[in-house]
Symmetry: C2
Subunit: 364 residues, 2 copies
C-alpha cells in the first residue's frame, strides 16, 4: 500500500473519562493510554502505528482533554506532533469542528484537504483491509459525501449502532439509507441475515470544505464562536490561548457529530469495512475479543485460576489468585483491585462515582 | 483475679502451616502471627496479653516450628522468654510431650507443676471467665485429672468436636463421658438442646506428673526417645542441639493428644467455659465471628463495597472495590489477592498447593 496524498489528514479522537476500564484506566490515563489484554503497547500507540506508511506524522492530529495532554504526548511522541487540547469534553461535533477548522487553516497544498476521523481506542485486526476501506471512503469524500466506514458484522451484536445501506453510489460506496440504534437481539439477528446492515464504528472520512459547510449549517453559533478565536494559517488552533478556548467551549452545546450532521445530511455514504474491528467497551468484553481457555476464562499478567469458569483476570503486579469462581471479573491495577460479576462490568462507573463522592482522588 | 501460683505453666501451641488464611497467613507467618479482622495486634500478642497478671512471662512456653521461631520471638518479645522449636510438625501428642518434659526438668519449686495447654490463634472474648474456668480446671488437675475446658455452645455448630458431660466430680468439674466428632446439623441441634454437650477447644489443664505418666503409657517409644535427648534441669529442652531433636523427631509417629491420651484415659474431666471462644478457621468464618452490616458484608482495611451481599473483604493496602458481588471472599494481603466464593474458602489450600507445585516461593 502506498502512502496517501499530502492533502489527507488523520484526526484521532482520544478523549474518555477513564471509567470503563477502571482500575486500569483513570482520568489521566483513559483506555487509549492503556495496554488492554495481552497488548504490549497502549491502544494509542497501536492506532498511530496503524497509520505508518499511510499518513505521515505531520498530518496526524490528536484531539484530547487538556488534563490528558501531557500523558498523551508522552505516549505518542514523534508519531504525532499535533494536538488540540479541549478544556472540556463537549462531545464529537465540537471536537471535530475544532479539528476541521484547524486543518483548514494549516493546510497549504493545492488539493482539497481530506480528513479521516478515527478513535484512539479501537481494535482493528486487519490493517490492510482498513487502509483499503479508507481509500474507498476517500473516493466517496472527494465526491462531496460524508463517508462512514461500515463494519461488516459477523454476529448479531446488540451493543453497537447499525447503518443501513441504501442505493449504490459507486463500485464501493452506498448511500446511507438509515441509522439504527442499538437493537434488541432478534432485530440484530434480522440485520445480520439481511446482509444490508453494517456496524457504525464512528470512523468518518470527508473533505474539509464539505464538513465545514455541514457544520456551519448544523451548529452555526458554535462555528462562529470557534472561528472568532482567529486560528493562524499554518499553525491553526494550537496558537489559541487556552483561556480563550475555555471561554468559548463553556458556551458550546454538547452534541455528537451523528446527531448534529450525519443523521440530517442528505450526503452521507458508507463503504464496507471488513477489518476485524472491535470497540472493547468494558472488562467483560475481553473474553469476547481475545481467545479464552476451554472454561471460557481469560487472564493476563500475574494470575492463577483454579476451578474457575468464565473468569476475566488481569494483574499488573500482585498475584491474583481466583478459586472456584464463575463469571467474575478480577482486575488488579495501579494500587486498586476490582471484583465484580461479568454482567455488572458495565457498572464499574459506580465505583468511580463513589470515589469522586468520597474525594478519593488517588484512585481516579 | 490474682496471679496463679508459681507452679503453673502455660504452654502455647503456635504451629500451623499458614494455608487457611492465605494470602495474609504464610509459612513464615501463620494465622497466630497475623492480626485477623479488625484486630490491632496479632493473635499471639492477644493470647499472651490474656495471661498478664495470671501467669508470669517466665512460666510461659511457646512451642512452634523452627521455621517460625524468629518471627514468633519478634512478636512475643519479653512476654514469653521460653521457646521450643520443633524441627517438624508431628501433631500435638509429641509437641505436648516435649513441653511437659521441658517443664519437668525446669521446674524448681516444691509444688507439683501444673501445665495449661493453649492455642495461639483462638479468640476468647471473656478473659475473666476464661481465668475462672482455668482455676476450676486446675482444681480438677490437682486431683489427678486431665481436665478440658468445655466451651458452652450457643449454636448448633457443625465445625467443632463435642465433649459429653458425665458424672459430677466436684462443684465445677465433670467426668468426660464421651468425645463426639464434628456432628451433622440435626445431631448438633440435639446436642445443643440437651445442655449436656460442650465444644472441645483443645484447651487442657493437667499436672506434669499426670500427663507424663499418661504419655509414658500411650507413646512409650517417643517418650524414651525424647528423654534420651537429656534435657538439663533448669534449662530444659532449649539446650538440646536442634540436630539431635531433628533426628529424634523424624522417628516419631504423628499423633494427636486427643487420640493418644484423652480418648483412652479413664481420668479425663471437663469444666464449663462460657468464655466467648471462637476458632476462626477460614476467611468465611469472619462473618460469623465479627459484626456484619445489614447485607451481611464484613470488610476490613481499604475496601469499598457497592451493591454487595455476604461479602468478606480485607485489604492491607491497595483499594479493594467490590461491585454487585454475592457471598464472595476478597482478600488483598502481602502482594497477593485471593478471590473465591465464601463456601470455597476452606479450599484456599489448593492455591497454596499450586504455588508449591510451581515453586512460587514468594507467595508461600
Amino acid at each position: 500500500m502506498t502512502t496517501l496524498g499530502d492533502n489527507v489528514y488523520a484526526v484521532i479522537l482520544a478523549g474518555g473519562s477513564g471509567t470503563r476500564f477502571w482500575p486500569k484506566s483513570r482520568q489521566l490515563s483513559p483506555k487509549q493510554l492503556c495496554a488492554i489484554g495481552n497488548a504490549k503497547e497502549t491502544m494509542l500507540e497501536t492506532t498511530l502505528k496503524r497509520l505508518d506508511g499511510f499518513i505521515a506524522p505531520d498530518r496526524r492530529l490528536i484531539v484530547t482533554h487538556e488534563q490528558q495532554i501531557e500523558s498523551t504526548k508522552q505516549i505518542a511522541g514523534a508519531a504525532c506532533p499535533h494536538y488540540l487540547a479541549e478544556p472540556d469534553a463537549r462531545n464529537t461535533a465540537n471536537a471535530l469542528a475544532l479539528a476541521a477548522l484547524d486543518i483548514e487553516t494549516r493546510h497549504q497544498g493545492a488539493d482539497t484537504p481530506i480528513m479521516i476521523s478515527l478513535h484512539a481506542d479501537h481494535v482493528i485486526e486487519n490493517v490492510d483491509a482498513f487502509k483499503q476501506s479508507v481509500r474507498n471512503a476517500i473516493d466517496s469524500a472527494k465526491e462531496g459525501y460524508l463517508c462512514l466506514l461500515g463494519i461488516v458484522p459477523d454476529k448479531p451484536e446488540t451493543g453497537y449502532g447499525y447503518i443501513e445501506r441504501g442505493a449504490s453510489l459507486s463500485e464501493t460506496a452506498f448511500k446511507v439509507s438509515s441509522f439504527r440504534e442499538k437493537p434488541e437481539l432478534e432485530l440484530a439477528k434480522s440485520y445480520l441475515e439481511s446482509g444490508n446492515f453494517l456496524w457504525n464504528a464512528g470512523i468518518f472520512v470527508w473533505s474539509i470544505p464539505t464538513i465545514i459547510a455541514e457544520l456551519d449549517h448544523a451548529i452555526p453559533t458554535a462555528m462562529n464562536a470557534l472561528r472568532g478565536l482567529k486560528p493562524e494559517a499554518g499553525v491553526g488552533f494550537r496558537s489559541c490561548p487556552s483561556e480563550s478556548l475555555r471561554s468559548v467551549y463553556q458556551g458550546l452545546p454538547k452534541i455528537s457529530i451523528d446527531h448534529a450532521v450525519l443523521e440530517v445530511s442528505k450526503k452521507v455514504s458508507v463503504v464496507d469495512a471488513d477489518i476485524g474491528w472491535q470497540d472493547i467497551g468494558s472488562w467483560d468484553a475481553l473474553a469476547k475479543t481475545f481467545p479464552t481457555d476451554q472454561q471460557n476464562n481469560i487472564s493476563f499478567g500475574n494470575t492463577m485460576l483454579i476451578d474457575c469458569e468464565g473468569v476475566t483476570a488481569d494483574s499488573d503486579g500482585d498475584l491474583v489468585a481466583c478459586l472456584g469462581l464463575k463469571d467474575i471479573v478480577v482486575v488488579k491495577a495501579k494500587g486498586a483491585v476490582l471484583v465484580c460479576p461479568a454482567d455488572k462490568a458495565q457498572d464499574v462507573k459506580k465505583i468511580v462515582e463513589a470515589l469522586k463522592a468520597d474525594q478519593n482522588e488517588s484512585y481516579l
